[in-house]
Subunit: 202 residues, 2 copies
DNA sequence: TGAATTTCTTAATCTAGGTTAAGGAGAACC
DNA sequence: GGTTCTCCTTAACCTAGATTAAGAAATTCA
């Protein structure tokens, strides 16, 4: 049922089978149809989501009313609004399925209890969070260190599979520019080389 | 010696005095003169730094050769290049003292050993990292949801003390625009209301 | 399968913020 | 107590990318 998640945990820490059982007991499985929401702005975030299958996006609405995507979550990624989760105050974010998606839901209230019983998970989440911070840091370097066009080229070279998996206007939003500008870039010579290899995940 | 750090830990988890002793034994104290570096691009990051007194900035050099500040660390903040630390590969970042600064240094090699002996610290760092992710998330909202001028006003209203603590060109870099543009904003009517109250930390 | 909805493209026009250049003023240094 | 750095300001000009407005392709789903 949660084999992908248990395998992910095993990459970082070793659990006894009793502990693995306990993990499973504290999760729920949820299928999310395309365009359905796991979280909407105004709601208080209640859980941590692990993507078993599919793709989620997290976004907020800017002052001008535009959707600004802050991150995607693909298979084997955790996603949540840490800010709302910690403060237990209403979120500014939406978490929505880009394609039909299956997630393991770890309810925040049960999480603390579970971590108390399975201390190895404290370590697991610490390591996962370190990686999230590291990824956000590098994201920052690309966002501020490169021009919009360079960002697009860098990203589509690094994750060619992913680029084909989401609508381009979402990619444009994630990279911090408009879909019109993305079209312009792609129309330029060398705009979208028909690459094949490369990683699939951002 | 490390009372500020032990107090910070105590805000999240309880340590026995033997454990607190062990923490102290695995730290070193370092004083960093103004403009000195704890990390420079090209070096592999070897430690996690906790600011006891002073102010650090983390930045990288963009393609155009400009310094782009990614974060500051004031008293009671941890700072490191998670990316370089995890991969043990050369960093892209500089970590430099903005003012004479004292830090507690937790060497990465010793950190893993220490956490194995004091499991409560796994929880401590997990909680600290959750807060870092939450802060980065909100940072993103301000960065992409507001115009440059709104960013400046929001930031200087939220952290008036901090604005007076660092040179303005650093503030401009952190907020993602040029010092010239910051001057332009401040010259506008209502550009820099002489506020007094408010938080000191970003 | 065909209408409705989403997504993508093109092109003209516009603007927030960057760039360049120069001067001024405070702080540190000798 | 002057000279050298650092930092801040102003102003003219410039550009990357936004906005607006159509229309053209794809998808989706009934």
């Amino acid at each position: 049922m949660y084999t992908a998640l248990l395998a992910h945990i095993a990459r970082y820490v070793a659990l006894t089978s009793a502990e693995a059982q306990l993990v499973g007991d504290n999760l729920t499985l949820q299928t999310v149809p395309r365009k359905a929401y796991l979280l909407a702005a105004g709601q208080t975030c209640t859980a941590n989501y692990f993507v078993l299958q599919g793709c989620l996006r997290m976004y907020f609405i800017t002052e001008k009313g535009a959707e600004q995507i802050t991150r995607f979550a693909l298979e084997n990624w955790w996603i949540t609004d840490q800010s709302s989760l910690l403060s237990q105050r209403p979120s500014e974010f939406f978490i929505q399925a880009v394609e039909p998606t299956t997630v393991a839901v770890l309810d925040y209230a049960r999480q603390e209890e579970l971590l108390a019983r399975v201390p190895a998970l404290e370590r697991y989440f610490r390591l996962v969070l370190q990686r999230v911070v590291a990824a956000d840091q590098m994201r920052f370097v690309y966002q501020f260190g490169l021009s919009a066009e360079e960002r697009y080229h860098h990203f589509s070279t690094a994750f060619p599979g992913f680029v084909q998996r989401v609508p381009q206007y979402m990619l444009a939003s994630y990279l911090g520019f408009t879909p019109e500008f993305l079209s312009k870039i792609r129309a330029r010579p060398g705009g979208h080389p028909a690459g094949k290899a490369g990683r699939h995940e951002p």
